[in-house]
Symmetry: C2
Subunit: 302 residues, 2 copies
């Protein structure tokens, strides 16, 4: 099946204890679509400025990502400058220059309107809602959000969640959303907005999925070298949604496998700056790491 993502395309400057990268390809839609491209046909709705380098277009094209919904407008591309300490779990934002992303009004092309799987990356929930107004009854909608919208656009966010099947957020966002430190209780509250599943990302500690009557836990892959966590959450979402779209199966078994595929893609993503690792994967390596997750978590039943 096909998969639609609406999000950002950015030029990132990132510094970690292990190196730095300047004006490299980034953005939620970029990480998401590249990760998902190994599983399914991905179509992007996003915006870039007139300064967006041709080589980045070429990379996304090479991944067979459908860019008919990518607007190029006059002005500068969205830029993000960030830094990580040895605790790679948290990014410290040094500068955010929204530029052309500031006035982004996603327009879903006619050719995208019947796409069955939709991911709304982290943007203003009102804009996320406007995307849902433009598409024809997708089978499954997932979205991300962040503290900024939880604090500033809570009503729009709640309205959005009524129309979404799966919310994928960070642990701190789940706590912020509910003012509840206990994650199990927080998950109950968030699920009550009408979601089928809530997926809570915990960085190097993995991910938890909460459904109606079950919980699933996937660890993060223990890596010896983590260079840059930027985009890990979007790569996770891309692997997750990519697999679901590929199998066209929304059973809990498939959702659990999809979470592991998401974790696989996130683990590859953090092994290099920007998309340097993510863009050059073989599907056999993805399957091999999936199997390593199996070995990592396996124990004999009683």
């Amino acid at each position: 099946m096909r998969l639609l993502v609406v999000g950002s395309i950015a030029l990132d400057s990132v510094k970690t204890p292990f190196g730095e990268a300047k004006e490299v390809l980034g953005g939620s839609a970029t990480y998401f679509s590249t990760a998902a491209s190994y599983f399914t046909d991905v179509s992007v709705v996003a915006v870039v400025g007139s300064d967006f380098p041709e080589e980045h277009y070429a990379l996304l094209k090479e991944k067979n990502i459908d860019l008919r919904g990518l607007e190029r407008v006059k002005g500068e591309t969205f830029r993000w400058v960030g830094e990580y300490g040895f605790d790679l779990n948290e990014a410290h934002t040094i500068a955010t220059e929204l530029n052309v992303f500031q006035s982004f009004e996603p327009k879903v092309p006619e050719e995208y309107k019947d796409i069955d799987y939709v991911f709304l990356a982290n943007i203003d929930p009102e804009i996320q809602l406007s995307v849902l107004e433009q598409v024809n009854r997708p089978k499954l909608v997932a979205c991300d959000t962040m503290n900024y919208w939880i604090e500033g656009k809570f009503e729009a966010l709640k309205k959005l969640l009524k129309r979404v099947d799966i919310l994928i957020i960070n642990e701190s966002e789940a706590r912020e959303f509910t003012k509840e430190p206990n994650l199990v209780k927080a998950a109950d509250i968030i699920l009550s907005y009408g979601l089928k599943y809530l997926i809570i990302k915990r960085g190097e500690y993995g991910a938890l999925m909460f459904g109606d009557s079950s919980i699933f836990h996937a660890p993060a892959y223990p890596l010896e070298f983590v260079y840059d966590p930027t985009g890990a959450g979007d790569s996770f979402a891309g692997g997750f949604m990519g697999y679901i779209s590929n199998t066209d199966n929304m059973s809990e078994d498939a959702i659990r496998q999809a979470i592991v595929f998401g974790s696989v893609m996130a683990s590859y993503n953090v092994e290099a700056f920007s998309l340097d690792r993510l863009k050059n994967l073989e599907y056999s390596a993805i399957k091999e790491r999936f199997k390593e997750f199996k070995r990592l978590t396996h124990f004999e039943d009683l």
Copy 2:
């Protein structure tokens, strides 16, 4: 088989956001032996003061814990006063009164010397070494330690690790031990001291086991109500060593199951203050929660 633990017995005063408990039964040997008592025959070497309440003796006796190695000396029992915030992962120590524990010199009774499984709870590594001098070639020795000894008694600790099979420590201790933020690299360094396995406890994020050529990850059980994390690490170690001692099996399959049993005991422990939950378990409830860990982590292979 039989299991020996050398550690502390204390009277704890604990405050969490969910309540408080004053002068209740605590200490590493207490949590460890109670957790292990559901799996195997446990013998304790520890010390208490003349003020140690009779009811606490009675409780340990009721759990069939062998107390022939428990010294009662003139003076006051070890006391610990601590507090937790909403982030229940870290205890804030308010007071530590070592009292009779200050001059504790463990004496292993003749009847304990052939015990095959030995756990050295967190004490001065020189004292841990003195215990190993007193026992006859156990099959397996595991130990705990803490930042205080890593900083103050590093040489003794390294000497100890050469004689130990399994080290069970917290994530921050593994980083402190090696000055290495990456856990996989830190584990490699620690294993090189001659250990068979290193188990890193990560509080609400579970535990990681590092062996020669494999890694195993067990999550913590997602609980809706966590009242008091005190003793979780020792309950984990008790469930872990109790199961190993019970099966008399040191295969990696058994070690992995033992880590899950450790996680089960830790999860019950934190559901109440002191030993209030841990002391009243049915074995069927322990097995049931083991099976819940299986459901929590299960996904279909490719």
